[in-house]
Structure formats: structure tokens, C-alpha cells
């Protein structure tokens, strides 16, 4: 009993620390990466004894010290309690949603089988959507408590955008849930370990030859859902091209204009933690999560017949490493997308969410249902 609680606590602390550290690192990647993309040098002024470390000292040491030692300013006519509550309400969902994302298969230590996921609850992905829907409050309350017209405008736009894209996000995932038949993320990841050939009926030999050797990853089975989900996730985290709520050139800084110091750091950390969570979700749902192609629990089993058996303690780091690489890749993609595209106008954002993503997601569900029905009828 005590050992169980200790294991879960260790997993939770590990995930929390990794997400927070990654959020901090992403700040540095964003600044230096954007500088590379824009053909400039980026932050390199702060240095310790002349060592500037490519902007690492600036972003990871100087910036946090600056944020944490700044004066904590609450607008005098604003709402004191809500002004302090808002960044907490923005950060809490961003950190908590990582609890159900599996970062590995199982770790077998002696007789103990540890599932490499902080909490394996049977509602799986609904937990993530539930807490993502709580993320709207950080914006709404932050905007209201600032007693500032620009804030309020940014906050209202931001919350309307978030609730619109929550709908598109949920509907685009339904196709994936239908394909793998479960809501639990660990089961979806395990379901992506089979080959597509095992999912198709015997009689479709031509299709099996053409694509059956691929692992049954979500990107191959549900490409449209991936596209819709990616767009909806970027919109949900209010990154460019959807960052009108914090439009830097239009709304000063939107809903966090009256925030400075530690509270702004919380909003900032919340945004980067959401990037990590969105990448984690995309990886788990569409890119096999911790699956390495053709790697089963006892080693590689290639579709052309060969096998390369590995001990358990070699398989686990391979899988955790694969998960980490995929998450980092999607974080990098989101950063590059940010510095490549111009920002959508607000009516364009709303039109995209309701008139384009939503019908496309429904069509995806319909097509998936027809294909599953057809396959089940043929086998």
C-alpha cells in the first residue's frame, strides 16, 4: 500500500518536474529559434563572467530572477482576489492534464509491474478535455480583474476562441476513439503497436500489401483528424496564428497587460506547459506515443519476418526516449509555426472554428464509421 502510493507520487513528481523544466527550456528555444528564423542573434546580453551560453544565461537565469523580483502590481481599481487567482487558474489545468498521458509501456521491477503513466483512469481523454475547459477561466478572470478595456477585449475574444475550438478538438478526436475503441490513452497507445495488416480483413490482399506493413498509428488511420486536432490544439493554446487575445501589436498584450512579475511568469509558464501537453496529446493519439515501429515488449519483430530480441531494461528506455523525441519534435513544430504565419483576424478565427473545422470533424466521424462498418462486415 505504502509502496503503491510512493510509486504514484514518484511518477507524479517526475512528470511535473519534466513538464516544468521543458516549459522553461521551451522559452529559450523560442527566443533563440525565433532569432534564427528571423536572421538575428536574439537574447545574448546577460552573462556570468563573460559566459553567455547562447542566450541560456539570459533566458533561464536572468529572466526568472527578473520575473520573481519584480514588484507585484495589482491595478488599484481592479479586483485584488481575482487578479491573484487568475494566473493560478491558468497554470493549474496546464500542469494537471499531463497526468493521464502515458510516457512508456510497463516497467517490470522484480514482481512489480509499474504502468508508466501517472494515473490510469477509465475516462482517459475526457479528463484532459475537462481540465482544458477549465483553462478558459484564467483568461476570463484575468481580463475582468484587470479593470482595463484592452484586457477585457482580449479576454472576451480569447475565451470565445477557446470554447469554440474545444468543440472542434473534441469532435476531431472521436474518429480516433472509434478506430481504437477505447477512451484510455494507454490502451490507444498499445493499440498502435499492431500492424495495419492485422486490422484489415483477410480478403483485402491488395490493400494489405500496399499499406499493411505500416504500424497502425493514428496518422495513417486518421489523417484528417490529425490535421483538425493540430489546428484546434494550436488555437486552444492561443499561439500564433491564433493569438489575437494577446495580440502584441493590436491589444498591447491583451488579457495579461496588467500582469507583471511572478504572475506573468505563471501565465507564461502556463502557455508553454500547454504546448508540451498539446504535443504530448498529438504524439499519443496520432504518432504512436511511446511506440517505436515494430518494437514489441520483447524486442523488434519486423513485418518481413526478422526479429531482434532485446531485454526488458533495453526496451523501456527506447520507448520512453521515443516518446520524448516525438514530444520535442511537436513542440519544435509549434514554435516554428508561430514564427512563420501571420495572425488570423478574429472573425476569421471564429469562421474557421465553426464553419470549417466542425463540419470537417463531423464528416471525419461519418467516414470513419462507414469504413469500420465495412471492414467489420467483410471480416
Amino acid at each position: 500500500m505504502i509502496v503503491d502510493i510512493a510509486i504514484i507520487t514518484a511518477k507524479a513528481v517526475l512528470v511535473l518536474l519534466v513538464v516544468l523544466n521543458l516549459a522553461g527550456l521551451l522559452g529559450w528555444i523560442e527566443r533563440k529559434g525565433s532569432a534564427l528564423i528571423q536572421d538575428r542573434i536574439g537574447a545574448n546580453r546577460a552573462s556570468i563572467f563573460g559566459f553567455a551560453g547562447m542566450g541560456l544565461v539570459n533566458t533561464l537565469i536572468a529572466d526568472p530572477i527578473k520575473f520573481l523580483t519584480k514588484e507585484d502590481f495589482i491595478p488599484p481599481a481592479g479586483d485584488k482576489f481575482l487578479h491573484t487567482l487568475a494566473p493560478c487558474m491558468a497554470l493549474f489545468p496546464a500542469l494537471v492534464t499531463f497526468a493521464v498521458i502515458p510516457f512508456g509501456d510497463v516497467l517490470v521491477l522484480g514482481e512489480r509491474v509499474i504502468n508508466l503513466q501517472v494515473a490510469n483512469i477509465n475516462i482517459g481523454i475526457l479528463y484532459i478535455f475537462a481540465f482544458a475547459s477549465l483553462g478558459v477561466y484564467g483568461i476570463v478572470i484575468g481580463a475582468w480583474a484587470s479593470n482595463n478595456k484592452f484586457s477585457l477585449l482580449g479576454g472576451v475574444r480569447g475565451s470565445a476562441q477557446m470554447i469554440s475550438y474545444e468543440v472542434a478538438m473534441g469532435l476531431s478526436v472521436i474518429g480516433v476513439l472509434m478506430t481504437y475503441g477505447t477512451l484510455e490513452l494507454q490502451e490507444i497507445t498499445r493499440g498502435q503497436g499492431v500492424l495495419i495488416a492485422d486490422l484489415l480483413p483477410e480478403s483485402w490482399s491488395a490493400v494489405r500489401l500496399a499499406i499493411g506493413w505500416l504500424p497502425a498509428w493514428g496518422i495513417f488511420l486518421q489523417p484528417l483528424a490529425f490535421l483538425l486536432f493540430f489546428v484546434a490544439a494550436v488555437a486552444e493554446t492561443k499561439r500564433i496564428p491564433f493569438d489575437l487575445p494577446e495580440g502584441e501589436s493590436e491589444l498591447v498584450a491583451g488579457y495579461h497587460v496588467e500582469y507583471s512579475g511572478g504572475k506573468f511568469l505563471m501565465f507564461f509558464a502556463a502557455e508553454f506547459a500547454e504546448i508540451v501537453t498539446a504535443s504530448g496529446l498529438i504524439t499519443v493519439l496520432f504518432f504512436g506515443g511511446w511506440q517505436v515501429p515494430y518494437l514489441q515488449r520483447d524486442g523488434f519483430h519486423f513485418p518481413w519476418g526478422g526479429a531482434w530480441l532485446l531485454p526488458h531494461l533495453a526496451v523501456v528506455p527506447l520507448q520512453v526516449g521515443a516518446f520524448s523525441l516525438k514530444v520535442l519534435f511537436f513542440c519544435w513544430v509549434q514554435i516554428v509555426v508561430r514564427w512563420t504565419f501571420p495572425r488570423f483576424r478574429y472573425d476569421q478565427v471564429m469562421r474557421l472554428g465553426w464553419k470549417m473545422l466542425l463540419p470537417a470533424a463531423l464528416v471525419n466521424v461519418l467516414i470513419t464509421a462507414l469504413v469500420i462498418f465495412y471492414i467489420q462486415g467483410a471480416s
Binding site: 481575482l82 477509465n122 475526457l126 475537462a130 481540465f131 478572470i141 472576451v156 474545444e166 477512451l183
Partner: protein, 164 residues
Amino acid sequence: MSGSEILFFFLAGLLVLSALLVVFLRNVVHCAMALVGALFLIAILFFTLHAPMVGALQILVYAGAIMVLFLFVIMLLTPAALEARRGLWWSFGGIMALLLAAALAAVTANDNPAPDPVAATELFGSPESLAQSLFTEFVLPFEIASVLLLVAMVGAVVLGKKER
């Protein structure tokens, strides 16, 4: 006092406090945030009662969508003045509430021992069991509920439009 009892009393205490804050705070936005807190605590109680699907739906729908709607309307409409307190109304309301509490107490405090909870299977409260119930036994109310939501959407758009 087992762990589950401590958890229950902790959650129940916070829940009653949030409900009292909803009713007694003067700033409407604070009332709305207290209600969000109360809904979240009720969702946690649902989780402890082996109803994870309904708990997640409570956070997703109630705390995450309906209360955001409340907050939008509050921000759109709040007049600056806080409402005045009326002593007469408070005593009338208080008496009615106490009568209701007495009636409920009389109903709940009987001598019948509560049934022991039926052993929870793995599937109880899971999405599968809720879906099974929803699509076989309760499929007609399900369809009517979807028409109801459509009617509510249309009605809200019609009622909210500015007259020209």
C-alpha cells in the same frame, strides 16, 4: 475515521462553504467563482462515488461551459451598484429555508439502515456502462434531449438578438 470519511468531510465542508459564499457574497463575479468551486467539489465527490464519467462531464459541461456563460453575461451586464440588503426579506427567506431543512431532516433521519453499497465492478460508472444505458434503455430521452438542446440554442439566439 477512515481515509474515505476524512476525505468526504473535507470535501463536504468546502462544498457547504462554497455554497454559502455563492449566496452571501455581494460581488456577483465572486459568487460565480464560488459556484465554480462548488461545482468542481461536487465533481470530485462524483469521482469518489465511482462515477468518473459523470464527474468528468460535470467539469466539462457545468464548470467549464455553463459557468463561463454565466461569467460572460455578468461581465456584459453588471450594473455598478451592489444590491441593498432588506431585513424583512432575509427573515422571511430564513424561515422558509429552516422549514425546508426541517422537512428534509425529518425525511432523511429515519431508522432504516442504509443499504450497504453493492460491490462495484470494474465497469460501474465507466463510459461503457453509461453508454450502454444511454443507448439502449434511455435512447428516446437521449434523442429528445438533443432536440431540447437545439431548441435552447435557437431560442437563445432569438432572445439575445438586439431589436433593430
